[in-house]
Homo-oligomer: 245 residues x 2
């Protein structure tokens, strides 16, 4: 456990920690690729599960942008995942799969494996802090995911509660408001610098935990903190240690 | 464990159970009276803690009505509790108590003892169902209360998420929407027939659990189910048994 930066953690006294989930808490790529692989085998399809998972995830930001721009009304992430899935299936030349099978495949996002340090780290952090997801995933998705992965949240916060997707400021400020805390008393934990930058811009504290394999061995993950980051930890257990939990 | 009614529970197949909290899950009166008693001793006050607790709770419905009517903008229950407290202190002739002591007394509503069956019953129900509070208490209050009482919720639902107080229909329908369930797939569990009537009116399933001592030995609690009730259980453990959890 060697943090890339070792700041003075005592300078930050958060009362609650809120977490990005996809990529930061759970390894979406491996899990979704495994679900796609099983789906392909079941239907006799020849496709590259990792490429399929990457294409599915690549539709994520553009789909949320359609909501942000007003092109779509507020739409839960489950539904956006499904819209993207339908397009990716077409792009991969897959057709004729019965609807219940597609609905089931879409639920792959509710069964994602946590990074190995996530549950022990959260369990330890929860002794000292209120902990909650602050994800773009909808509430029911987050409930199922917490059950699947054993994530010991105090409550489920996130985009759906304010009908804005991160990095809109409403999501971060809404979390502080629901927790009855000043923004600086809430620490956003994420593997994505853009998320932390948006959180910091409206006054939250920030912690960066790199997840170098989020996008697979070819890379693409944020590896180093930037100036929007108050604290850098090598994983959640290290974060708990730095925060004295 | 002898339920007062024994309906055919298999006729109801809820996927999630949502719970009234004050009175149904926790014994607010004993807990608040104990906090008031300690407060009175600390400040050398002569007052009847149970009467004080009853007066505090008696302000609850009128205070929410001020929000419902539009006289007050949306106001969290924590703040309403404090407005009522200030009035009750005046009515009991108490003055000159330092502000931090009053803020601390107001937090008595975050430290309420669960009825003896509540935690074992919820723990068992959680094996088969998503469980969440559906209270007029605000989110941060419910988080602290869940920690204090050891309530194993999957998430925190409630009035604050829709900025309406029960029995407004938005609260019940909002819960079903957040859970991605049809109203009938959500079962409202409460010791209060008015709550169940409002839930049933918008399509939720309903379960009644009597809490005869909610208002103390002098009575005042609902003791028998009425026609809005789908299921009656003697306590949460009996409810779990009837629902096959």
């Amino acid at each position: 456990m060697t943090p890339t930066h070792r700041q003075d953690a005592s300078a930050f006294a958060p009362k609650a920690l809120v977490f990005d989930v996809f990529g930061t808490v759970v390894d979406w790529r491996t899990s979704v690729a495994a679900a796609v692989r099983a789906f392909a085998v079941r239907h006799g399809l020849r496709l590259d599960p990792e490429r399929f998972a990457d294409a599915w995830r690549a539709g994520y930001l553009p789909a949320m942008q359609r909501v942000r721009s007003g092109e779509l009304p507020w739409t839960k992430l489950d539904r956006l995942h499904r819209l993207i899935l339908d397009q990716v299936l077409a792009d991969f030349g897959v057709g004729g799969v019965p609807e219940p099978e597609l609905a089931e495949l879409n639920r792959a996002w509710r069964r994602l494996t946590p990074w190995p340090d996530a549950v022990p780290g959260l369990t330890r952090l929860r002794r000292g802090f209120t902990i909650a997801p602050l994800s773009n995933g909808n509430i029911s998705l987050m409930i199922d995911l917490a059950r699947f992965a054993g994530l010991p949240w105090d409550c489920i916060l996130g985009a759906e509660l304010v009908r804005h997707y991160k990095p809109d400021p409403e999501v971060y400020l809404g979390a502080a408001a629901f927790l009855d805390l000043a923004p600086a008393e809430v620490m956003m934990v994420a593997a994505h610098l853009g998320d932390l930058q948006a959180a910091k811009a409206v006054g939250l504290s920030t912690a960066f935990v790199a997840r170098p394999l989020e996008y697979g061995p070819a890379g693409g993950a944020d590896l180093e903190a930037d100036r929007f980051v108050d604290l850098t930890a090598s994983d959640f257990v290290d974060l708990a240690a730095q925060l004295g939990a």
